[in-house]
Symmetry: C2
Subunit: 721 residues, 2 copies
């Protein structure tokens, strides 16, 4: 990556060169220049075209090197073959940023990939930043540096899109909406600058209030996890991530891999970073609009005000579906409502002010629940106000004057409600058109049906929860003292042996080093060694150790209940004999493992747990916890967490998201399991997989959880080649 | 209920009396009359008002009895107090149907309830049918018999609403949409006629193509289950059922009650009846529109055609989310696409005809996938066409001519595509407005974003699946021979004993009668009887039997492993002694139960199953199946089915919807469990709870499932008082 963090020149450039500017309408080089001119760009403009003297009234140059003045950015619309030589010239000219609209790079494969790599090298050499290639361009507040057909309205939404077509579609959609953009960025191939660079910049951009992204992939997950949370504390960021079905390049030979959904790492990463994930394009804009115009509610405690029962019930359903909570009105508020609303009105939340509700009645009710009513002065204390936002519903009845109510709502909001969001649902069409238009223009989100209002409010509650969480940066990740060298040596040996799956005594040693309890296990290379180890370990089970023998039982490779040294000696001899007789020919035999026998039948209570790790190509180690045992894959009672900044709290959440958590807590009079011990296992495991990126998969199944302590009985570790 | 099934007079009345017609604008009696007149009603109109001679140019009468001609229906807008006396007059006048707009009945409680009951009695007496009371009225194709502000457009959608406000809102919404209504019905209090009556009628109404309902409750679930499936085979029926959170009046002292969601019976009933359930108002209309205008696809096999990658990926995501399947193009189709589309195009589904796609390219592609291309004549056979519908996406690019593409799409659809649905997603706003309007007007559903298109297509696939299912009417429900009398006697005894929970030997006997295997259990009233029963039963466990002793173990009320008659005799004496000593004072003791001891440790494989029944207030017995054992409530691995028309297939579905089904099939080399035996248990249980409505709850937990056979070990039956 090129390093150069102040990229403000892309958004407000003092001078622009258009490489490949053209005077022929229809040509991209013409459209870009025309867009810049028509967007009333105030800086200096230098068309570059070896064949022209002048284009659209601007003097044209053969090369950027011929331009006598400084140039801040260059927009490329020349054929792909000549992009790199000209980029080299731009570097020499000390141009800061390049926007490469030209296609014909990585996306065409082969030569295009090399061309893109060269471009990045050139940019690096001259400390230039690059947007694209293969993009629509960039539109800032002061210029339209794209070949889009229209220039969208200015406003507070920053839009970043990995698809040019989606960007044009969404800009087109916005033209008759009530919001505008601080910038529209087309990412193209992301050769240099990606979504994270822009999110980082825009989080500090005073013109941007909300950041919307359409993404198809995230290449550098680690950078995303590191940078985005800090940005999300400054600005709401909403991402529509598509390509859910194509996501899964994750290895799936482990339990963890098989049980994790293809898209789960994105979900977890977004949650960790405080990103609001939009599922549809409609949601993306609904969320964008409410964050742009409405304050973030301090509590999940809302009121519904309606003039009809039916729509009220529909709204209640959508509140419940979204997990929105109903404000419990205080007695003074209820008293005022009771005294002033008709007897048939419902004064408990949702408030039904009934069919003949006049604008005055709407006004009274809204003011009362927010404590703004004059009649409430000196009567209602601040503590009596429990409503932190409202959904106001109008249905078209004879006395409903939607336009008047709309004006009253705006008046209340603009005068007195600076920290509580209001959204409206105007059930209907033609008779609600004027009120809808008025509300939208006055920055009050307005929907045809209550469901969208509930979803938007929920997005705000989710974001508020994030804001109240500890900063990801400050998360305290436990760090246990371990002998990493010894683990590295084990992996080295395994590699030397051309294996990727560790043998049992190896996993046992690694777990021992990382402080995770598993049955003691050592490798005996001779019967005499077996005898010695039995003495050391006690009651044991002996198992054949060979990378070529997978089903040990089938070849007579396991003997249980070895209680004496002599038995161990004899079992060794027997096992080797069996393996030679029944195992595959020429199997490499390392010896016999002497493993401690855990007598868990003596435990007061045993739960079988599965704990695992699968490495996500974008976001790194993905931890899993859930119901273990031989049926783990069928019970599918598991939850997942990224191992990035994995804290004690994360471990608790992970455990609490499963059904087996109920059993661990102890039900029906049973004692609780040692949940703290499991939390520690997860923390130690997280450290292990973070410190050794060569571990691609890891499963513990089962980990036997006891009332006191645990034992990680069966462990599988796979490392990369 | 009143019986009189031809209700066509409500929809096309030859003559109408308006009881309480008024000449004063603003009065409901004025609005209704004006609506009828303005909707160009062609029949005879009789305002009834004792104080007027003439209203709006129509002669007014003091009473319906004064009208010299026949009257088919009467619309009431008089105060509630005088509704019933006038209804009586209507009866005498032989009026067929009453629409009672007047409020002040059941919904106000107290006196209103009595008033409504009286109204129903009067209607019954004179064989009149009643809509309402407390409703907006009814709007047919030929008259607007409501006090709504507007008369909606005529068209093929029948709308039934339990909320007047929702109805006015939805009608208002429809005014600028491309669809209209065959009728709009406001149900009000449903004193007589309910949604089922109207669904039944409208299914045979030639003017109605789709039925939409907004419902808050269904009172007569049995009637719904009986009538609606037949209607759904004739017309698509889409219901938005609100009040999800308020649904649960179901008993919840059983496992089944506790585990069933509040709304689950509605979901199951709707599925059984072929109802499409809308979750939002937007869905309700999206589904309504596609069913109104587009043919039902014969297979779940669709194509996506797009001119840009991004929107294509978003569409693919929504297809996957909805479970829509992608058509696999045949080689001849692929060949044509390959030969005629640009090299950069993606010819596999989704087809990306890329940014510079002209209308001609859209036309070629759409025709090719449906085999309508001239170039394909004689080249593509019918079997080569695998596409049964399509989502066509346009994003605004320089060469896109949306209006031209729209016209071509309509041309193709109207000429050649009579049995394959087409929907469009036009990504954008202003530049897509003309094309969107054109498509909608020409009955091609058109959305701003692909997600809604995918949802609508999915609704059609779901409906087609229903149409291909066996008619609910013809379902073959197993009927086992049982001695019902004996069961009835047991319940009688339990009632006489003032109990609602059956004792173990009683449940055991009932299960025995219904052919469900449970451990043998009999009641001994004396030590001698215990001796005799031990001889009969074999190895047994003896348990105290007393309705006052719940925790038998705690009072020494259970003795296991009784292998001889003598042991049984002694155990009896000991248990009674213990119970008297440690049990509650004055506990009623019936004796000691001698129960067969099942030695399931000898079984090859044992799975613990839970099977239960909870009676839903609307839809009757709700059966449950899932993972049993002491953790059943925590594992929550259960599925549900209505016991109405519960067949072998239903039982299979019920079992297959759980995770434990995987284990029952046998995993990891285990043998399969006796699933057929479990199916039979479910069928027999279903018969039991249907034949005895007094059983309010029933739990078997666990039922031990073996490789051969099973044993219903622990049974709890609760009957109504």
């Amino acid at each position: 990556m090129v390093e150069n963090n102040d990229i403000s020149y892309f958004f407000d450039p003092k001078s622009i060169a258009i490489i490949g500017a053209s005077s022929k309408p229809g040509k991209v080089g013409y459209n870009v220049l025309r867009n810049i001119v028509e967007s009333k760009y105030q800086g200096k403009l230098f068309p570059i075209n070896p064949k022209a003297e002048e284009i659209l009234g601007y003097k044209s140059y053969k090369s950027v090197l011929d331009v006598p003045e400084k140039i801040e950015i260059a927009i490329f619309v020349v054929p792909s073959e000549i992009v790199n030589p000209i980029a080299e010239e731009c570097g020499k000219k000390r141009i800061k940023g390049l926007i490469i609209i030209t296609a014909g790079f990585k996306e065409i494969g082969g030569l295009g990939i090399t061309r893109e790599q060269e471009l990045v090298q050139i940019a690096k050499k001259y400390d230039m930043r690059v947007i694209g290639p293969n993009c629509l361009g960039l539109i800032g507040l002061n210029y339209n540096g794209s070949f889009a057909a229209n220039t969208p309205k200015n406003g507070g939404i920053a839009m970043i899109s990995q698809s040019g077509a989606m960007l044009t579609g969404m800009m087109d959609f916005s033209m008759d909406q009530a919001f505008g953009f601080s910038c529209n960025i087309s990412l193209g191939n992301k050769a240099d600058m990606d979504e994270v660079d822009f999110i980082e910049y825009l989080a500090n951009d005073p013109n941007t209030k909300v950041i919307l992204c359409y993404l198809e992939s995230i290449e550098d997950g680690e950078k995303f996890l590191r940078v985005v949370p800090e940005a999300a504390y400054k600005k709401p960021i909403i991402i529509l991530k598509s390509g859910v079905s194509a996501a899964g390049a994750r290895a799936a030979s482990s339990h963890t891999g098989a049980l994790a959904g293809l898209d789960i790492a994105y979900d977890l990463a977004f949650k960790k970073c405080g990103i609001l994930r939009a599922i549809s394009i409609a949601d993306l804009f609904d969320y964008g609009e409410i964050f742009l115009y409405q304050p973030i509610p301090k509590k999940n405690s809302f009121a519904i005000v309606t003039n009809a029962g039916g729509p009220g019930i529909v709204a209640v359903d959508s509140f419940e579906r979204e997990g929105l909570k109903f404000a419990q009105f205080s007695e003074p508020v209820l008293h005022l409502l009771r005294e002033n609303l008709p007897a048939e009105a419902a004064i408990f939340n949702p408030i039904d002010i009934i069919g003949d509700a006049s604008p005055k009645r709407y006004e009274f009710t809204i003011k009362t629940i927010f404590g703004l009513n004059e009649r409430a002065q000196g009567y209602i204390e601040e503590d009596d106000i429990t409503t932190y936002g409202a959904l106001i519903i109008m249905s078209p009845q004879a006395q409903t004057k939607p336009a008047d109510v709309a004006k009253l709502i705006y008046e209340i909001v603009s005068k007195s409600l600076s920290d509580k969001p209001i959204v409206c649902a105007l059930i209907g069409g033609v008779s609600m058109a004027e009120a809808t238009k008025y509300l939208k223009q006055h920055h009050i989100p307005c929907y045809r049906f209550p469901e969208s209002g509930a979803k938007s409010l929920k997005a705000m509650v989710t974001y508020n929860d994030f804001l109240n969480r500890q900063s990801v940066k400050d998360l305290d990740v436990a760090k246990f003292k371990v002998d990493k060298e010894k683990v590295a040596e084990i992996f080295k040996k395994v590699r030397a042996d051309e294996r990727t799956v560790l043998l049992s005594h190896e996993t046992s040693e690694i777990f021992d080093i990382y402080g995770i309890i598993s049955p003691k296990s050592k490798l005996a290379a001779t019967p005499a060694e077996a005898r010695k180890l039995q003495n050391e370990i006690g009651k044991s089970v002996l198992k054949i150790v060979s990378p070529n023998i997978i089903h040990k039982t089938d070849v007579g490779g396991i003997i249980l209940n070895i209680e004496t040294e002599q038995e161990a000696f004899e079992a060794y001899v027997q096992i080797i004999e069996n393996a030679k007789k029944y195992g595959p020919q020429n199997a490499r035999i390392y010896g016999v493992e002497v493993q401690e026998m855990i007598d868990f039948k003596e435990e007061l209570k045993v739960n079988e747990i599965i704990i695992g790790m699968s490495r996500d190509p974008q976001f790194g180690p993905l931890l899993m916890f859930g119901t273990g045992g031989i049926y783990a894959n069928f019970m599918k009672d598991v939850s997942f967490a990224l191992s990035y900044k994995f804290t004690k709290e994360s471990a608790k959440d992970l455990i609490e998201n499963t059904k087996i958590y109920n059993l661990l807590q102890g039900v029906r009079g049973e004692p609780a399991s040692d949940i703290n011990a499991i939390i520690e296992v997860l923390l130690r495991l997280s450290q292990l997989v973070n410190e050794f990126p060569e571990i691609v998969e890891l499963d513990i199944n089962p980990l036997l959880s006891f009332v006191k302590g645990y034992s990680a009985v069966d462990i599988k570790i796979t490392i990369s080649r």
